[in-house]
Amino acid sequence: MIESLPPALILLAAALLIAPLRGHWRTAVILAAPLATLWAIWQVPDGVVATITFLDYQIEPLEGSPLRRLFATIFALMVFTGGLYAFRQARAVELAAAYAYAAGAIGVCFAGDLITMFLYWELMALFSTLVVWSGGTPAARAAGIRYAIMHLLGGVILKVGIEGVVVHTGSIDIQPMLATNFDTWMILTGILINAAAPPVSAWLADAYPEASPTGSVFLSAFTTKTAVLALILLFPGEPVLIWVGLFMVMYGIIYALLENDARRILAYSIVNQVGFMVCAVGIGTQLALNGAAAHAFAHIIYKALLFMSAGVVIYRTGKSKCTDLGGLFRTMPVTAACGIIGALAISGFPLTSGFTTKTMISQAAADESLMTVYLLLAAASAGVFLHAGIKFPWFVFFQKDSGLRPKDAPWNMAVAMGLFAALCILIGVFPEVFYRFLPYAVEYEPYKAGKVVFYLQLLLFSGLAFFLLLPLMRRTLTISLDSDWLWRVLLFRAAAGIQAGLSAAGAALQARRVAGFAALRSRAEYHFGSGPAAGKRMGVFSRTWSIGTTALWIAILLIAYVLVYVI
C-alpha cells in the first residue's frame, strides 16, 4: 500500500544509493529523497497505520499524529537543506551516513511501540557515530569512539527500561507515563542521555565540533530533538524534567561563555536550547507541549543555520577558534548575514522564530504560576543572547581584524543558508501559519506590545552587558573541564593506578617466589648435596657409609621394629 509506505524507508534506501552513485545521479538522489520523504510524511494518517505480529507482540511501525508529523517534517526539511548544503563538499560516505541517521530519527517519529522506537534509536546511534568519524582526523576518531560508547550505554539503559515495562505491564505501547519505578526511570534516563542532560551533557560538545563542517550541521538536528519528541510522547508533565531542563539551560550558557571554539560554543548552546524544551515538557500543559514542539522545530532551523555559517567559515579558513578569527564580515557578507539571522533567532528576538516559540514556554510557566521557573527562563533568554546571539557573530565576523580574507560561501551552501534564514524570519513574522501545525489548538498571541517591550529591554540590555563586560570575556586558548573528565582522566588514572598496583604486587610475589626457591634449594643442597654448592662438607644423605656401619644400623632398626611390634 502506497499510503502506508514508511517515510524512514525512503531515506534509508536513499542512503544505500548515495554511496555507489556518482555525479548527477547522486545529486538527484540527495535532493529528491528528502522531498519524497516529506511527501510520504504527509500521507501518514492519524492513528496506527500498520501492525506486524512479532513473537507475542503487536509491532506498530507506523503511527501518525500531528506531533509526530511535525517532528518528521522538520527532520525531512533538515535533510533536504543539509543535503543541499553538503552535496558538493561532503564525502559520499558522510552523506550516506547522515541520510541513514536521519532515517532513524524519522523512524522514531512514527514509531507506534517501544520496540520499533528502540530499533530506530540504535540506527541513529550507529550512523551518527559514522558522521562523527567522517571528520577524518585522529581527534574525530577518538571523539567518535567516546560518542559511540555513551550512546550504546544509553541504548542499553533504555532497553533495560523497556524490557521492565514490557514484563511488568505487558504493553509495548508508547503512552504517557511518569518516572515512578525502576523501569520508567531507566527509560527516562536512556532518553535523557540522548537529550544531553546532566551529568553526561559533555558528549555533545565533545563530539559534534570534531565532525566535518558539513557533518556537524546534520548532527546538530536529530539526536537531541528525537529525545525531546520521545519525552513529549512518554513523559509529559514529569516534574523532574523542569529542573533538569533549567540546569541544562544554565549549563549551556556558562560553558559557552568559557569556550573559545566557535562550533563548541554552538554545541553548548544546543544543550541550552534543549533545556528550554525539556523544561517545557516538565511543565506539561498543552501550551507547554506546544511550546516544546514549536521550539524544537524552530531550533533545528536556526541551529543548523548557525552551524552552516560556522561550517562555511571553517571550510574557507580551516580555523574555528575565536582567537584566530575575526573581521570576516568584510569578505563573507552572506555568511555573516545568515549567521546574524540565526543568532537573532536563537536569542528570541521579536520577528524571528525564536521569539514566537520560546515565549510560549515562558507563558506556560507563567500560566502555572511557576515564578522561579519563569524568571530563570527569562534570565536564560538574556544569557542566550549573551553567549550565542552576540558572542558567536561578534567573535567570528567582527571583533578584531584577523587579516583573513576568505571567499564567501559556495553557491549551494549560500542557498541552503538563505532558505533557513528565510524560514527563521517567516516563522517569526507569520507565527499563526506555523501554529496551525502544532499538536494542540493554539490560542497564544506572541505579539502583545507589553511583552515585546519586555523582551526588547531584556535582550538589548544583555547586549549592553556584553559590550561593557568584553574585557572579562577575553578569549583564551583553553578548554573547560566537564563531567567527562571523570572518565577521560580520573577513571583512566584509576585504571592506570590499579594496573601499576597489580604489577607491583606481581613483582613482589615474583621476588618472594624466587627467594623461596633459592632458600629451598640451599636447604636441599645442605642435606642432599654433594657438589661444591654444599660447601666442604657433604650433605647428610649424600655421604657414603661403610658396609659395617650400615649393617649395624639395619640390625638396630630391625630390633627396634620387633620390639615395637611385640609390645
Binding site: 515564578m371 534570565a379 517591550v453 531584556l458
Partner: protein, 87 residues
Amino acid sequence: MNDDSDHWLVRPATIRWLWRGFIAVLVLTVLAQLVFAAKGYFGVDGWLGFGAVFGFLACLAMVLVAKGLGVFLKRDERYYHERESDD
C-alpha cells in the same frame, strides 16, 4: 571595501555613532513601557525597566559565575591531547 583596514564599519567615528544610537534605543525601550504598560505576571515584572535591569544583572551574574568557574575548569587546550595521544 577596497581598503580593508579602513572599512567604514570599523572606523572610530562609526563606532561612536553606533554607541550613541544603541544607547538611544536602550532609553527608548525603557520609555516605551510608559506607553505600552507590561502587565506582568507576578507584579514585580511589571515595574518600569524591570526587563532592562533584570537582563543586565542576569548577564552580569552569568559572566561572573562563568569567570569564577573558569578558574577551576579552564585547562590548556592540549590538556586531553597530551593525555590521550600516549596510547
